[in-house]
């Protein structure tokens, strides 16, 4: 089983995002692995552990710092790592999906995993777009994957615990919402070991595509309302909340 | 008739050392040995590494014997036994039979170094099945195998991978009549356990014990390395019975620190048999009319209690395991003292 995981290196939203012109100031933000991609890598490794094969992780090097992410993926059980040397922090999902699809074309993938979404999917997610480019079926919102022979059974989630089970003949692209088990921890010792021994294959970006969106403005959202903030110590806060609830007959 | 001669009975470690010391002090020595060769139990039982620096004990005995046989002050009589004794300190007359011929010896002092014999595990209160199961052996059986680097299960000739030592077999047991501690078994079991781990590195070696009693050489050079370096495993709690399970042995007992019963299969069980007075010791004691303790060992200590080589009869001294369990170090140390005391007692009488 040839499993490919397409990942996104995205601006961290742990802190405020600085703006430059009509977009995020990519020079002054930290980049992190999309959190859904952590689930996606885990799901891919789980499938490999169940049926055998290799997991290849591929991503676009947005700011020249993708190696760390790829080492982490290798430490978690991926077998190969490929980076597309884009070095374009502003590359949108359409462009990344195109580059990724071109890179994946030569890998004879049986399954391609991608995180179901990313916080910078302003022009859509890479998973369905890669599927479109590779002419493979796509299912997103997936929370479990089982492979038997040349088909996969996936559970897709709708809302409120409602979902559906699909059977798909491979190859396919899966948009992972959550892995069957929570992502495993990769000890730094292992990551560092990997960093010293692993080779990361470099692929030049190939194929042009763009979102076709012109950015007119990028700014923190205009706040229409704001909560009335309760100040003081935790005890004060608790006291005021309890008073509030009592006054409204809710406690 | 006073005599300047020291008669030493027994050619084991204590007898050999007594002979050497007495000779070096200028005494005239007659050493009588029951067997046709010197070296005592270490030689007879082919004891392997039992001395400091892990030297082969029977080899060390050969060195001691050579010293004695090459000393012109020492006369050795082989195949010799004491038949009777009369007289008193300074002028004993000892009738012996040596090589089938009766002989009379005048001696100013006597040192008894008639040693011990191993406990016979057939008498154990526990059901260890020494005589029924070939793979239940004793320390002495194992010692021979270790010396030959050929440790195998007697039942099938295969290399044992799981070996248990059971401590205090025949010692510290009122029902057997041996309430005493045999002193050396903990150390010897530990020593053999080390050798087992050296000769069979993938073996599991366990020692089941009431309490480990080791000191000096045994503690520092045997017990700690056994555990720390050779990973010998000690379990507190004696095995009560050894049963058969297929072609294995099943040991049953209680693991006391875990407060849990144990039923574990083993390839081989080694009984750490203790010491009893040898037949020679009992016979000589009776013949000489000297006091024995309740276990048959020659009572030593003297009136003041701090005279470890004195017997109840003046001019007759004891050394080594004849007076109670002792290791080689102890036996040899006692022998040196006995020699000094014997030579001195003669000089007093002669003076």
């Amino acid at each position: 089983m040839n499993i490919v995981v397409a990942i996104k290196h995205i601006p961290s939203i742990a802190d405020d995002l600085p703006v430059k012109g009509n977009n995020v100031d990519f020079d002054s933000v930290d980049f992190v692995l999309n959190e859904f991609d952590e689930q996606s890598i885990e799901q891919a490794v789980l499938v490999k552990e169940a049926v055998g094969g290799t997991v290849t992780v591929v991503g676009v090097d947005m700011i020249g710092e993708l190696d760390g992410v790829l080492h982490l993926a290798l430490a978690k059980g991926a077998d190969k790592a490929v980076k597309i040397t884009g070095d374009d922090p502003a590359a949108d999902s359409h462009q990344q999906a195109k580059w990724l699809a071109e890179a994946i074309k030569g890998m004879s993938a049986d399954m391609v995993f991608a995180g179901v979404q990313a916080s910078n999917d302003l022009d859509g997610q890479i998973g369905p777009m890669i599927a479109a480019h590779l002419d493979m079926p796509y299912i997103g919102g997936v929370s479990s994957v089982e492979v038997a022979g040349d088909s996969a059974t996936v559970n897709k989630e709708f809302a409120g615990g409602v979902g559906a089970k699909y059977s798909v003949s491979l190859p396919m692209v899966v948009g992972v919402q959550a892995s069957t088990k929570p992502p495993r921890y990769a000890p730094v010792s292992k990551v560092r070991q990997v960093a010293q021994t692993a080779t990361i294959e470099k692929v030049a970006p190939s194929g042009d595509a763009g979102s076709g969106l012109t950015f007119k403005k990028m700014a923190p959202p205009v706040v229409t309302g704001h909560a009335e903030m309760i100040e003081g110590s935790s005890k004060d806060v608790a006291k005021k909340i309890v008073e509030l609830l009592k006054s409204k007959g809710l406690a | 008739m006073t005599s300047g001669k020291v008669l030493i009975i027994g050619g084991g470690p204590a007898g050999l050392e007594a002979a050497r010391s007495a000779a070096e002090l200028g005494g005239e020595v007659i050493l009588i040995e029951k067997r046709e060769r010197l070296g005592g139990t270490p030689d007879r039982e082919s004891y392997a590494k039992l001395t400091h620096h892990w030297r082969d004990a029977s080899e060390a005995m050969a060195d001691m014997a050579a010293f004695v046989t090459s000393n012109k002050n020492v006369e050795v009589k082989y195949s010799a036994e004491v038949k009777s004794i009369s007289g008193e300190a300074g002028s004993f007359t000892v009738e012996i039979e040596a090589g089938g011929a009766a002989e009379s010896i005048n001696a100013g002092a006597v040192i008894i170094a008639t040693g011990f014999q191993h406990f016979d595990p057939g008498r154990a209160t526990q059901y260890y099945n020494y005589y029924s199961f070939p793979d239940v052996i004793t320390l002495t059986d194992l010692e021979k195998m270790l010396k030959e680097h050929n440790v195998v299960r007697p039942s099938n000739g295969e290399t044992p991978k799981k070996i248990a030592f059971i401590q205090c077999v025949g010692s510290r047991d009122r029902q057997i009549g041996n309430e005493y501690c045999s002193k050396v078994c903990c150390g010897i079991a530990s020593k053999q356990a080390i050798e087992l781990r050296e000769q069979i590195p993938d073996s599991k070696v366990m020692i089941f014990y009431i309490d480990m009693r080791m000191y000096g050489y045994w503690e520092n050079e045997i017990y700690w390395p056994a555990q720390e370096k050779y990973k010998v495993n000690y379990v507190k709690g004696l095995v009560s019975e050894v049963l058969k399970k297929g072609d294995k042995l099943l040991i049953r007992g209680e693991d006391t620190t875990m407060s849990r019963p144990m039923e574990v299969t083993m390839d081989m069980v080694v009984l750490s048999v203790g010491m009893e007075p040898s037949a020679g010791t009992r016979a000589v004691a009776q013949l000489m009319g000297i006091q024995q303790n309740k276990y048959g060992f020659i009572e030593a200590g003297g009136a003041g209690g701090l005279d470890p080589v004195a017997t109840s009869r003046e001019g007759i001294f004891v050394a080594g395991a004849a007076s109670g369990p002792s290791d080689l170090d102890d036996s040899i140390a006692q022998a040196g003292l006995a020699a000094a005391r014997a030579v001195a007692s003669i000089r007093k009488v002669m003076a």
Partner: protein
């Protein structure tokens, strides 16, 4: 409570056999009582790990068990670990692996120098590298440290956010752009945790009042990661150590003062192996050196009875027992009373060795939190204040005095008490 021990049953929360889910009581079994196998290889497995050699040395004297803080609230102890291994427990897969707080009280009494401070990290590292069970809370702390530079998972950029409310100017060494006498390594909890910030702010005011020429690293400071190392993540520790050492060496300073004993241990005892060898002292030692000058500042009486908890990593691990006491005795009005277990035999708060991030896990395997046991000991002295000198402890004991019904005992860092006396609040 004496009496026969009833057979215990075991029950797995999740179990599937041949595709049939037999979770919970469906798989209930009585615990096997008979030992049917001895497993010296499981002792050797641990003793063969680098630095864990002494695990094989235990001769079951059991001195460790009665001084082990975990045994006092549960059933644990280094001696038992050896025996459990001998009777079939793979330490790398056992919950016992995560209970040790590396408090060092066992090593203090061990005639065989069985060194759990080295054994535990090695065995834990093995478990982590082999993908064995690791408490989720601990993994979270590891991930937070790896991603955010601190176990709390707070943004690096906010590490110096606390300084603006400290009431005094706190220079950042990078902005200062000149050598300083003292580089103050604040630490993660003092930088982010609300109660830690209280102590950090107090420290800043004290240093300032003493006229110390000091600066902090600000946003460049990262967690020391010593507890993560002891919890088994050596790689993470090394990564953080390399980063910290590079930062420390970027600046000119004469001496480093740390707020926390764990940091002291890291920088003084472990970082030297990674090439960092500069003077580091704990704040109590540092302030005790300025005692005369400090006494002049302690103008206001603080009329409380104080008992002092020795942090394991300040006391047993680094030998500082007296400086904290000298500081407390210097505060006018303070009456210092000792708990029974103090100094070399001080009882552990449960936060060391990664215990800080395994409270829920530990709670499942003990009858009471270590911090609760200690809080009760503190309360039994009749003290009004439980004084501490480790940033892990304020929050731990603040919870513990509440949960044991001893809210009347205030938990304060020595820094906070000094600050009170200095400012009269």
């Amino acid at each position: 409570m004496a009496g026969p021990i009833k057979a215990k049953f075991v029950e797995k929360e999740h179990a599937v056999v041949d595709g049939v889910d037999i979770s919970g009581h469906w798989n209930r079994m009585f615990e096997q009582r008979v030992i049917t196998e001895y497993t010296p290889e499981l002792i050797e497995k641990i003793a063969d790990l680098p630095n864990a050699e002494s695990f094989a040395n235990c001769y079951q004297c059991a001195k460790c068990v009665s001084v082990c803080p975990v045994d006092i609230v549960g059933n644990y102890g280094p001696r038992k670990l050896y025996r459990y291994a001998q009777t079939g427990m793979d330490l790398t897969e056992a919950p016992e692996l995560w209970l040790c707080t590396t408090c060092k009280n066992c090593l203090r009494v061990c005639p065989k120098e069985v060194d759990m401070i080295k054994i535990m990290p090695a065995a834990r590292e093995e478990a982590i590298l082999q993908g064995k069970f690791v408490p989720a809370e601990l993994q979270q702390a590891f991930e937070n440290t790896a991603k955010s530079g601190n176990p709390l998972g707070q943004p690096q950029r906010k590490r110096d956010a606390w300084i603006k409310d400290a009431g005094v100017e706190i220079p950042i060494i990078k902005d200062l752009a000149r050598p300083v006498d003292v580089l103050w390594y604040v630490g993660s909890y003092p930088s982010y945790h609300p109660r830690g910030i209280d102590a950090a702010s107090a420290a800043a005011r004290i240093f300032s009042a003493l006229g110390i020429d000091f600066a902090i690293l600000g946003k460049e400071e990262k967690d020391d990661a010593d507890s993560q190392r002891l919890a088994g993540e050596k790689g993470l520790f090394e990564m953080m150590a390399e980063s910290n050492i590079a930062t420390f060496n970027n600046y000119e300073w004469k001496e480093m003062v740390v707020t926390g004993p764990h940091e002291l241990n890291a920088f003084k005892n472990v970082y030297p192996k990674y090439g960092f060898d500069r003077p580091v002292i704990h704040y109590t030692t540092f302030l005790a050196r300025h005692l005369d000058q400090l006494k002049e500042l302690l103008k206001h009486e603080v009329n409380v009875k104080v008992t002092y908890h020795d942090p394991c990593y300040l006391g047993r691990h680094n030998g500082e027992y007296e400086a904290p006491r000298k500081l407390l005795e210097a505060i006018p009005g303070v009456e210092l009373v000792e708990m029974q277990r103090n100094r070399e035999n001080g009882y552990c708060c449960g936060g060391g060795g990664g215990g800080m991030w395994m409270d829920s896990f530990t709670a499942k395997h003990t009858t009471m939190r270590l911090s609760e046991k200690r809080a009760m000991e503190a309360a039994s002295t009749g003290a009004d204040v439980l004084a501490v000198a480790c940033p892990f402890e304020v929050s731990r004991f603040a919870d513990a005095v509440k949960s044991t019904g001893n809210e009347h005992v205030d938990v304060l860092d020595i820094l906070e008490l000094l600050d009170k006396s200095m400012r009269g609040e």
